[in-house]
């Protein structure tokens, strides 16, 4: 049964997060956890609207994106003004107004033509979706463009929450009527209005302006540019979508059939591209569109089976993919070349992420391991062991810095992982401490050497070679610093922000864990005392100050 009505955090309550331990569906969930640097505290929770039908559960796993909307040079005008006032992007048209009228029309938000302009709702009727139990429509009307938003999908809905508000229910819901939005991406540096990408279960892709959605009071996507309409280029499910960093409006969509497509949103999109048939499905191949005016512009056939995750290095030069076949692949994105990659221990890989400096990639999957791939060594340098089920989300914490960096030469990375075991794990990666078990004849006594020595042997690997699965005894293991059960449902993702860690479960709930030292995390709460039975091991670090 869906548990959305239990009100884990009521919208008006303070930061005490007292409810998480006491509500029926969350037995034994603690509202804080401790790391060496201090205590992370559950600040609040974000969910989907309570009325959402549970039949959609299990159809898709919720993914979440944090969208930081900065000051725009030309802030959008509030919706209460006539349509002519909207100026967030070029080409405002009011032609879509009639399409948005019907409340039950299927996919009437659909993009009408091929000329790529944004469309705005010209009518002033506010048949708000929040008429029943929410005051959130006010937020939408007062929207001034700035803010930090949480965007997440659940069933056939895409939801937007104000991350700085305590409201549990989203401020905005967009429904897609029987097709499922499954992935999304936001570009805070988008030059024109379209900053949000949405990939659907049908393979269709939309680009929209987030601000425009927030201004609109309807339940439909507005002003959307529609790509791969009705799956005309590729009708397999979208699995992952990403803007190309510094790509000037280019974005990449990965599909469940092992293909990735590159689009350019600046294109007028006069028609869908056609690509030659894939000659050898087992081999990586690139195909460029025959016509320069069409979208998508490039097809990357990467693997057989689904691509489950893609991630760009922060400079946009490298693209990592993981998939059903269990391989992590790293591409030189501008050159369109496969550089390196390797197999999981076993099973599909589900997620991947880059370190901010582009030196390491995390990948997690169905072998319950977090693998740490070194771009210097072009191989797996460590396995993180600690999850009791599949690893569904990995991320480096780019805001984290080790306690005394001045004295220490070595770089330490902090990263996190979440799994279908409902747990969040935090890890420190410190390469000097990782010891590689040396290959030895069976029965011999174990001897150890440092990782850099063994790495030299493997440097001769030719470009683009995919490595087979390592043997269990060849890869050093690291253990997590923190193991914390955060939800009752399997998790699907985690996001590090400057102030917090967000954990996302498959069924559409997100928890916001404030970092130690942030004001919210220090708010003393008596409610934690009944839960603190297992906290005997370490002294508190943060809240004693």
């Amino acid at each position: 049964m869906i548990n959305s009505s239990n009100g884990m955090m009521s919208a008006s309550s303070s930061s005490s997060a007292a409810g998480a331990g006491g509500n029926a569906p969350s037995p034994g969930l603690k509202t804080y956890f401790k790391a060496p640097e201090g205590r992370y505290k559950l600040h609040y929770e974000k969910g989907h609207p309570s009325g959402l039908m549970h039949y959609v559960q299990g159809k898709t796993a919720t993914q979440a994106t944090v969208a930081i909307v900065k000051d725009k040079p030309s802030p959008p005008t509030p919706l209460s003004q006539p349509s002519s006032g909207f100026s967030a992007s070029s080409g405002v048209k009011s032609a879509a107004a009639k399409l948005l009228g019907g409340s039950n029309g299927s996919r009437t938000f659909g993009f009408v033509g091929g000329n790529g302009g944004s469309k705005n709702l010209s009518g002033s009727s506010k048949l708000g979706p929040f008429s029943s139990n929410s005051t959130n429509s006010n937020l939408a009307l007062n929207f001034d463009g700035k803010g930090t938003y949480l965007i997440f999908n659940m069933g056939d809905g895409l939801f937007i929450s104000d991350l700085n508000s305590q409201d549990k229910e989203p401020m905005k819901a967009i429904y897609f009527n029987n097709v499922y939005p499954v992935c999304h991406a936001f570009d805070q540096d988008a030059k024109d209005g379209h900053d949000l990408l949405i990939g659907l279960s049908t393979g269709d892709v939309y680009s929209v302006s987030l601000g425009q959605q927030l201004q609109d009071s309807g339940k439909k996507l507005v002003g959307a540019q529609h790509y791969n309409k009705d799956g005309s280029v590729n009708n397999s499910r979208c699995t992952c979508i990403s803007w190309v960093p510094g790509g000037d409006g280019a974005f990449v969509v990965a599909h469940a059939d092992g293909n990735m497509y590159v689009y350019e949103k600046s294109k007028e999109g006069a028609g869908d591209s056609s690509f030659p048939a894939i000659k050898d499905p087992t081999q990586f191949s690139i195909a460029h569109a025959r016509h320069s005016k069409s979208n998508p512009i490039t097809r990357w056939h990467t693997c057989q089976g689904s691509i489950n995750g893609i991630a760009f290095s922060s400079d946009g030069t490298h693209l990592a993919t993981v998939g059903r076949d269990g391989y992590l692949r790293v591409f030189d994105y501008p050159k369109e070349e496969l550089i390196c990659g390797g197999k999981s221990y076993y099973g599909a890989l589900l997620c991947c992420a880059w370190s901010a400096d582009g030196k390491y990639i995390l990948a997690g999957g169905e072998d319950d391991l977090v693998q740490i791939w070194s771009m210097d060594d072009k191989k797996v340098v460590a396995w993180g062991e600690g999850h009791n089920s599949w690893v569904s989300g990995v991320a480096f914490d780019s805001s984290w810095s080790p306690p005394d960096t001045e004295n220490s030469e070595q770089i330490v990375y902090r990263f996190g992982s979440v799994g279908q075991d409902t747990q969040l794990l935090l890890w420190d990666l410190q390469m000097e401490e990782i010891v590689v078990p040396q290959r030895r004849p069976p029965g011999g006594s174990p001897t150890f050497s440092s990782g850099s020595q063994t790495a030299q042997w493997d440097n001769a690997t030719p470009l683009g070679t995919l490595q087979s699965a390592p043997s269990m005894r060849d890869i050093p293991k690291i253990s997590p610093l923190v193991i914390h059960r955060v939800h009752t449902e399997p998790l699907s993702g985690l996001i590090f922000t400057e102030e917090s860690i967000l954990t996302v479960c498959r069924e559409g709930h997100t928890k916001v864990w404030m970092r130690p030292g942030t004001p919210a995390s220090q708010g003393s709460s008596n409610s934690e005392t009944p839960l603190s039975t297992s906290l005997k091991d370490k002294p508190l670090l943060s809240s004693i100050k």
């Binding site: 049964m1 469940a256 599909a348 269990m472």
Partner: protein, 266 residues
């Protein structure tokens, strides 16, 4: 099913395998009697060296295709905490029954199966060297993984407070690919999932069985006389329920993994 009493699919599987062995043994025995009467050398399958290591087998066993396909060897290692002597005893198995936990994976269940258990208090170990009951550490290790690995998830547990069996609807993720360390071959045994017996229903004494079987690279869903093709990703819908009292009552119960002979690397 026309049966008035619902039967357990795992019990049936074990019954079937044992019955097959019986039939095959009788056939060989009959053939042997025939050949002996005609004074020809006995014809039998004799590559059972692995099996004869097992202490449980006293008579010289007949190795049937059932054994070749399904039989593996477990090592029960016990280390006396006083004298540190390790006692290892091999046991053969046709399937593994795994305890399950909520929101876990087969990998995790297998890890727990092989985890170290301390024998103490009322459950001490009689050490032959110390000639007395001692505290000890015990661990089950899969020494020789079988060709076909059959895993039963212990979803039907007797609950003392209720006085009856209760079905555990726990979500247990089973990967399409799995590995076990083969201590005989000194390598990882790679397995692929090829069949799942699914129990449908919330109770332990009733319900319905369906199965998922991979055939010629396609997954088929068998429900009595209905057979349909399903997408590989649909296998995940039979993992179980992440929370109790879910409307989803279709749960993977017996998993069949086949060892991948082509993919055995060091």
């Amino acid at each position: 099913m026309l049966l008035f009493v619902s039967q357990d699919a795992h019990e049936f599987l074990i019954f079937l395998l044992n019955e097959l062995v019986d039939i095959l043994e009788k056939e060989v025995q009959a053939a042997k009697d025939d050949t002996e009467s005609s004074s020809l050398p006995p014809e039998r399958t004799t590559n059972g060296s692995k099996v004869t290591q097992a202490d449980d087998i006293h008579k010289e066993p007949l190795v049937t295709w059932v054994h070749k396909k399904f039989q593996g060897i477990l090592t029960n290692e016990t280390r006396c905490l006083r004298c540190e002597t390790v006692t290892a005893r091999d046991e053969i198995f046709l399937d593994l029954s795994l305890d399950i936990e909520q929101n876990s994976s087969i990998t995790s269940c297998l890890k727990n199966f092989s985890s170290i258990e301390t024998l103490n208090a009322d459950d001490k170990f009689f050490c032959d060297k110390c000639c007395s009951l001692q505290e000890a550490q015990k661990r089950m290790k899969i020494k020789k993984p079988p060709q076909i690995l059959v895993i039963q998830l212990k979803r039907f547990n007797y609950i003392e407070q209720l006085g009856r069996n209760k079905k555990l609807s726990y979500r247990v993720a089973f990967p399409l690919e799995l590995k076990l360390i083969d201590y005989v071959e000194e390598a990882d045994a790679v397995y692929s999932l090829f069949a799942v017996v699914v129990h449908m229903g919330s109770g332990s004494s009733h319900g319905h069985y369906v199965s998922l079987i991979k055939s010629h690279h396609h997954w088929l869903f068998f429900d009595d006389e209905n057979v349909e093709m399903i997408d590989e990703s649909a296998v995940q819908t039979f993992f179980g329920s992440a929370q109790e009292y879910s409307s989803n009552t279709d749960h993977g119960y017996i998993l069949f993994y086949e060892r991948d002979v082509t993919n055995n690397h060091d």
